[in-house]
Homo-oligomer: 491 residues x 2
């Protein structure tokens, strides 16, 4: 491999960017802030989608599709939503182009100006709740448990592949309920779905919690989130689930007739994860040699590389590999056999390391004689010689071990980099010298929260679920506090 | 069912619209020309996606994602493309909104005007070929076989749910090849994939052919298509596959080094189908009682309705149905058991007929005694009493029969409504009185084609593949012609 990555130690941010580009995950497009998701990156996203979609359906949700465009006036209907979302947006003002009468090219046709501008959806609460008004009459129409897979646009000024892009792909669940209790239950249920997905598929341990009022979704009564720690100790919000109360029902006049025949406003939730998870995945597990993929997300789980000097050797290996590949695929394992003669084995080894393929099997003429193969794990870089007998079962087991080990490693790192601070100096010292998560007391006011952010660049990531009560004093103000909250510098 | 559909005979167009709305497939949104695809409609679209996606992957394609926005100048780069697509588009001119200083609401921030306008993609050839320039250096990088699932926007003035909407969902394949032969082969291969999908999954017989030069995709050297006949005799283009030659490679300077070390322009194809297929599906098979779904696309393949007078009876039926449901689901059959006590069996029967569920099983106390059930087919409306023994196998077989019958019925209708015309009067007479497809001679000129369209409202749907040579005279001009082409009035 001529294509070396910048090392994490040298420049973490450059390492990330190099990795995303060189592992063929994504690249910048000709349109500012918009990315191209390349086939290898998209194949990982598809696996995420499948796993999430299955979980959504198992919990009773169905998919639907709502318009890309939202009339500008819709944003003004929910007071706090307008401040949060109706700012940096892509605005459609015209619906026609024409040839430039003065010269070359095409220009906007000023005769084709829209009466009301359309906003490319940054999130779909408004258009969806405007639609739900027609779907809901009585309690018999509830709950509505709908999810949408879609692209959304938020005009970010500073962008970074996967982590922050103007256009990104996501899913957004939008549910409607007869009671507040049911909506809260849904909010928590989906938070748990996200946490399960993050831990068991992405192999990323997460902390479930509630956002402080200041960090709530614009229009929500409560925002719950899962927070993950990246290898550099910074936090990344990996998913959110919102209890929206009756705010959108009131804004769009969505009422239902309850069992007693009385009209009431409907209760709402929304919840989403996005292609940002690709960034979380990369920064949680990868190393200076490239991507490290948990087997459950790897588009190629096993790569087989033949070691040969001539066609005769290759033919003998091909034959043996055909058998092996078949037995692995029968177990549902995705296998790539790379027997190209245009590249040397060493080049291939580096290439599949860069791409994060969990298991590499090398097989040469001596292996054929001995009935063995060489098996290399991507996560630990360990190599071992395996007997061919029941190799498919051993590999299946190895993939499970790797999945487990990647999670364990991330969990260990998080525990190592989680600390408690009892004073301001200690707080700053930890953030500057150790990084990671810091549990500390906060007096509960937005003013203090903002001051802490300004002084330390750390934010309250969440108030963890089932947080123990503990008497203490706010690290900034010394005011009394009843619990510690989770602070970190964040992506 | 109080919700009667307008009958096909009375008003075909109203029947279609009623059906789409009442079967919960889609509805108009608050945004002009944009539809909401409702959960039941979306579930059918998801099944189409799965079947297509599997076929794309089996033929070596991978998915990727390209930006929603295309810089305006990109359209001008390919001369014929600009005329075809850079007209009725959604144009993004600004990237920020602000509070109206004079009053309520929000307004466009004139300080946030884009230097170059962005067009919401109507199709992605330009942005994709601009990207491919960076992906292709030598023949070793070819072919590129990429597909994208995406939303696109074409600002249609007259819209109709599924058939013609401003925003629609589709897939667009974009492939790059070293030779013209290979690109042509790909174009035909994907046409065959579409035809196979249409006939075996949608149960819609199609005619494969080539478009006349006048009807080609803007920027293509050849456009191939599949054409289907709706029940009213009108044609509907159900998919297209384009051989783009080197037009986009030249427009975006995409060259590769061939085996001899020489630089050459890359050859291209593109191909797509869209949510328009939902319209084709509805208009091919449905009737005055509602949707008729081919079993391979039906989100619910079997509905079971209990007939009961009291809880005791229901409990006994529930128990029996639990077994039956399990045995059906084991065979991969999707089953809904509707034992709500809020609706009468008759209401349920009508509801699932409206929704096109292929098989309905009714089961009452006497059935329990006799070890029988009543089975009704949606396609023929036939009812029969089945013995419980091996019922899952019988139902599985019945679903196959239904799939086959729906196809057969559509094929019979097409054959009945296909005619040959040898004179202008005969041509008009067939179109006005019988409708359907007409094979007729045409002199091959665009002028004649346009004149025929003007006079008859019929267009050349395609020049069928493997069209037999036949000497004749153009129905309009009397000029010599070497083959008949397929004419019809079309959606």
């Amino acid at each position: 491999m001529s294509e070396q990555l910048t090392s994490r130690e040298e420049n973490y941010s450059q390492w990330y960017q190099d990795l995303v580009m060189k592992a063929d995950l994504a690249e910048h497009s000709a349109v500012r802030g918009c990315m191209v998701i390349k086939p290898y990156g998209y194949a990982i996203w598809e696996k995420m989608q499948q796993e999430l979609d299955r979980r959504f359906k198992e919990t009773g949700h169905v998919n639907a599709y709502f318009p890309l465009f939202i009339p500008k006036s819709f944003f003004s209907k929910e007071a706090s939503h307008v401040d949060g979302f109706a700012k940096e947006c892509a605005v459609v003002t015209h619906y026609r182009l024409k040839n430039d009468p003065d010269g070359k090219g095409i220009i906007v046709d000023e005769d084709a100006k829209l009466e009301e501008e359309l906003i490319v959806r940054p999130t779909s609460e408004t258009i969806i709740w405007n639609t739900y008004r027609g779907w809901i009459e009585s309690y018999r129409d509830l709950p509505i448990l709908v999810n949408q897979w879609a692209n959304v646009v938020r005009w970010e000024m500073k962008t970074r592949l996967f982590l922050r892009t103007a256009e990104f792909l996501w899913q957004e669940g939008h549910t409607a309920h007869a009671t507040a209790e049911e909506a809260v239950e849904e909010t928590i249920k989906m938070l748990n779905v996200y946490a399960d997905f993050a831990e068991n598929i992405l192999a990323i341990p997460v902390i479930k919690g509630m956002k402080s009022p200041n960090e709530r979704f614009a229009g929500a009564l409560d925002t719950y989130c899962i927070e993950a720690m990246m290898q550099d100790g910074k936090a990344l919000q990996a998913g959110t689930s919102h209890f929206l109360g009756q705010n959108f029902a009131k804004a769009f006049d969505v009422k239902y007739t309850n069992r007693e025949g009385k009209q009431e406003f409907v209760w709402a939730t929304s919840w989403g994860v996005s292609t940002r998870l690709m960034g979380a995945l990369i920064m949680s597990h990868s190393d200076n040699d490239g991507l490290v993929l948990p087997p459950r997300l790897a588009p190629i789980q096993v790569v087989i590389v033949p070691i040969f000097k001539n066609d005769e050797q290759l033919n003998a290996i091909n034959e043996k590999v055909a058998e092996l590949k078949k037995s692995l695929e029968k177990r549902g394992i995705s296998v790539k056999y790379d027997n190209r003669d245009t590249h040397k084995p060493g080049w291939k080894f580096a290439e599949y390391e860069l791409k994060g393929v969990p298991v590499r099997i090398a097989i040469g003429p001596r292996d054929l004689e001995n009935g063995t193969v060489e098996v290399a794990r991507r996560d630990t870089k360990e190599k071992a010689v395996y007997q061919m007998t029941d190799l498919h079962l051993k590999i299946e087991h190895l993939l499970e071990q790797i999945q487990d080990n990647i999670y364990r490693k991330a969990l260990d790192l998080r525990e190592e980099k989680t600390n408690r601070a009892d004073s301001w100096d200690e707080f700053i010292d930890i953030l500057d010298n150790k990084g990671g998560f810091v549990y500390a007391h906060w007096d509960g006011s937005t003013e203090t929260e903002e001051k802490i952010k300004e002084l330390s660049k750390a934010t309250i990531r969440c108030i963890p679920m089932d947080n123990p009560e503990e008497e203490g004093q706010c690290i900034l103000t010394g005011n009394p506090s009843g619990q510690r909250v989770l602070f970190a510098r964040a992506y």
